[in-house]
Symmetry: D2
């Protein structure tokens, strides 16, 4: 587990952190009431409220898609509009899960530099929705990703500005925090500052990419939405009978700061990779590197050379102003400096040849 080798595809190629596996193994003893009426789930609940410095409702689920779709389903009616960035995971990579869970709400996509939305971008679509009245889907929520799909990070004040605009129009704010830990590691703020203090209503808190086996938590800051959430989770088949195994992962993730240690390490590896690549004239970082993802433009022949060298990564949709093809490189808690250095060395070597 101390190397991701040549594989920079994603942070979900990783196994789990030893602490998580140990916790699961430790939970494998004795008879316990099912469906969350167990000490691990109670512990998780207390721990999450403590971490966020406020009373929250927390719902473990196994996947990020489930977390996002369930979170959104308590923020929108079936005829609602959810405003989000055009590159959002909920738009491109969840096979319509938000539409499914919300019974048909519409994701209205907006552009935005570095994968971020700005409050002013809501003006025109909200005005338009108001003009069209009952003929248009009804504005219900804004969803942002933190860290963004472009590996950048919203500051708390940027989130605050968005939530203020959303709330002023009666919309809820959802944060897809699949990589929230990486964002917080970068920001150096508290989880509370990054979320509810900045106006987030419902949070998808990722853990799988950052050390868990399969565990995400939906954190609902507004307690009036709890009963609805529980019923929705159950009927979606996301309420585990042996909940201990889901909760134990998240307890291990949260209680000794594993989430922050793992994310900080992944970010550091990304920064090292960025620094290394910055020395190569043939390549160009197309977004600021603020978390654990890099988006790198490079000549097609260099991409092919690196693939031939056995490196693995995904090609990515290039921003409009970039002519070279773009790849995504992801680091994780498993990445070590040698992995990063090997990539930089190979890129340098290949770039000089091509």
């Amino acid at each position: 587990m101390n190397s991701t080798g040549r594989n920079f595809c994603s942070d979900n190629i990783t196994p789990a952190s030893p602490e998580v596996i140990d916790a699961v193994t430790a939970a494998n003893t004795g008879m316990l009431h099912s469906y969350g009426d167990d000490p691990y789930t109670k512990r998780l609940s207390a721990l999450t409220s403590e971490l966020f410095e406020t009373e929250v409702s927390v719902y473990p689920v196994a996947t990020g898609t489930a977390a996002n779709a369930l979170a959104l389903s308590v923020l929108t009616p079936p005829y609602g509009a959810i405003y989000c960035h055009e590159t959002s995971h909920i738009v491109t990579d969840e096979c319509g899960a938000p539409e499914f869970y919300s019974a048909g709400a519409k994701l209205i996509t907006l552009p935005g530099v570095h994968g971020k939305l700005l409050p002013t971008q809501l003006d025109a679509p909200l005005r338009r929705a108001g003009d069209l009245g009952v003929h248009h889907v009804q504005p219900a929520a804004v969803s942002i990703t933190q860290a963004t799909e472009w590996g950048t990070v919203y500051t708390p004040s940027e989130v605050q500005a968005l939530s203020a605009e959303a709330h002023a129009h009666g919309l809820g704010l959802h944060m897809d925090g699949a990589r929230l830990a990486n964002a917080i590691a970068q920001l150096g703020c508290s989880p509370a500052e990054a979320t509810w203090k900045a106006g987030v209503d419902v949070l998808s808190l990722g853990a799988t990419k950052n050390g868990a086996m399969a565990a995400e938590a939906v954190v609902v800051f507004d307690p009036t939405r709890a009963a609805d959430f529980e019923a929705r989770r159950k009927r979606a088949g996301h309420l585990w009978s042996k909940m201990r195994f889901l909760s134990a992962q998240l307890v291990a993730y949260l209680e000794t700061g594993l989430w922050l240690r793992n994310a900080s390490h992944a970010n550091a590896m990304a920064a090292r990779l960025a620094a290394g690549l910055a020395t190569l004239p043939a390549v160009r970082l197309v977004q600021p590197v603020q978390a654990n993802e890099l988006f790198v433009a490079m000549p097609e022949r260099l991409i092919e050379a690196l693939l031939a060298d056995g490196f693995e990564f995904y090609r990515w949709l290039a921003p409009d102003d970039i002519s070279d093809p773009v790849i995504r490189l992801v680091t994780s808690f498993c990445t070590v400096a040698a992995d990063v250095d090997a990539f930089v060395a190979a890129a340098r070597h290949r770039a000089s040849a091509v």
Copy 2:
């Protein structure tokens, strides 16, 4: 793990079998492609086809509700009718998951002795649906539970008779096999004989209650439904990124016969408990005991006495012809003879007193 103590609530109060935890721990190494493109999932696929003696598509998910709802969603249009027993888990305990996943199909419930459906019971409702034409929901599937919700077991020929009737009317047959292992342990037949050879089209194969942490497999015997299933699983948030952890559980469950050993043991404990209770005049088994569940009628004061002794179990809806209250007792792979004997002894002692 070698005792369920005084807790007879359910087989989902158990931890996982050591073999399953070992497999998960063993899978926790190295980088692997995500979303099922990994050796554990490939192994599971081969193993399942081998076990069922035919090429199948197998889809691991984490809960039985997800398995059932997804399985049904590929058998019915949104305006379809699914015929099932009135005590079915899909009817009473899944918070509307089948309706959710099918976008609104209707479960039409039928009575039936010992929790079983008979082919002739389909005659009247199918004729009625035919008479009402487009005004009625359109018959699409039959769903049965094996072992049933009353702890009884369909014989392969009983399943065959149902599937013949269903297929003759263009309906698919779904089997909720949350406790299929227990049924097969009782029947002594092969998995193939219990399922597709008897006409089952889509199977929910349970493992969680019988030794896994959180793992069920949907087995699709008809390959034409595979693409649809994959998209539906993804958009429901049931496609794990680190699929290895789901597949490894099922591989451990299937590859050395753990499924059958665990189920046979649970059944044996249930039989021992039934034999013990049969000696007590105050109690009455209200269903034949053929798997790992017992449904026992007894005087209210005896129930209260046993609860006061610290035994745990659920009260159950009594069949119409039973006047005493009914409780359910469930044994599992963790139950030991001493657990059973302690219950019988307490019941004898308390019954003599009350």
Copy 3:
């Protein structure tokens, strides 16, 4: 239009009342704002509030299925339970519309003499739902049909008792009033007494069967549900652009008492038919005749003889305690005494022969 001849199939075989056609024709002039911002719709709104003696929201739609499904969709979450009689139109004849519009709510059917529910029947299912908690669909609404599917009529105090029980458990009460006019004609009470004063929250007010071309009104007595209803109607495609043509029908139906005149006539024809049939030993009315439907048990040979005579009617599902086959006979505002007398005469003649 002054005869239904030998056709007793349904009250929807009729054309519209001349008053309705005249109103539609009269509305066919001039440019008007679309989607309900027109004088006919405003007039309908005022008229309905006046008729019900309270401020209501009224939404015209073209079919009873739309009215019922939309009405229920504002009373239940997607994971809700709607309790209703097993013979309800919403259960048997709407191809799953309530499930569609509610995004998957479950109709839980109850038996009941004369097509009626009793408050005590809710006890067991509500207790069961409470016991099963999040695993069960969540109780949301009760739906009753007035007049019932068996042609009987709830008294206001019967409705009151049901609504009291429903409201005590936090459930809303929906009334499918496809034949509410016939019920009120029988009861001799006011529309207010028959509905909101007896605790009805949302009403489907039928007109099509009783003189309109295609017009039903959903009457929402709770104004907080109005915005939700409007969005749901629009996205269901039930908001007409030329709304004048829908509203004008309902204005004509309501403003000069056409609804009551037509229904009273239909009821009188049903009573005459019942009186005539009561003289024949071979036939038996299987339900009290309180509105405009008769359910008649008779020997199969008599049914066939009447069909051979050119009479048209539907066979119906016989109540459990009736061995002879059952037919339904429906009268309407178009039925005349001669139509009724011809049927009775034919039945007498044929019965004496068979």
Copy 4:
């Protein structure tokens, strides 16, 4: 009915053509079987097949939203993608009806000059969907509007090119023909050439805006989709019991060429208005005028002056390259030359003043 006066808001402000009202009145006689088993509906079926020169299935419904949403629901699975122009009525003005009827399919919007899509625009999104595999919604259909939302008209060969591309990728082609009559009037081709001969699979054929009271027809060219369509229409509450009143409107609309006469007139009025406005330097037509809608850029003060003169019209979202505000002017079968001339005169007068 021989004037729309100063109201250019929409073609749905109109009453119905006298021929349509006459047909409805004529249909108001006698008892008829309900739900479409009547001579008017049979006549409509024959007539539509004749008009399109091929055997079709035709389904009358009351609104364009219902027609579009139902049409799309038979072309896409719930996890499907429907590619359409960003200005499509299905995107902006149906409150999420397509998502509702399809149980969650996603509308993926594309830009396009004059409101039209080009086949090459499908390349990138389809490639992207292919790359993302099960994570992405699955490409299912293309939907185009004819005449477009910008009042322009696709030529049959443009439609053919789109359908060829769609079909090559396994996608169906839907045409929202709310104003198909206006398009055909402009093209001078046959209905067959405009639709199925150019590869349209399912058509929403508008009539309401062009002379009906409330009647649209979904025309399904692929007979294998008929049974699915019928069940979907029924459960959506769009199957009228007194179907005669819907079918009679469409029979009147189609059988004597009313559809083409009305549309030709509306187009002629639009052309006259365009010609008049073209003489005014202050205003600019922002799209070619090919049907019955004009989109006109003009100074804000001129808009306000015209509103002050009592003219009615909607403001419209301006294309990106237009700085002046834009209004939409719609002509219809009721518009007369004097209405048009009055607008032009007022605009000339006001423009010279401002």
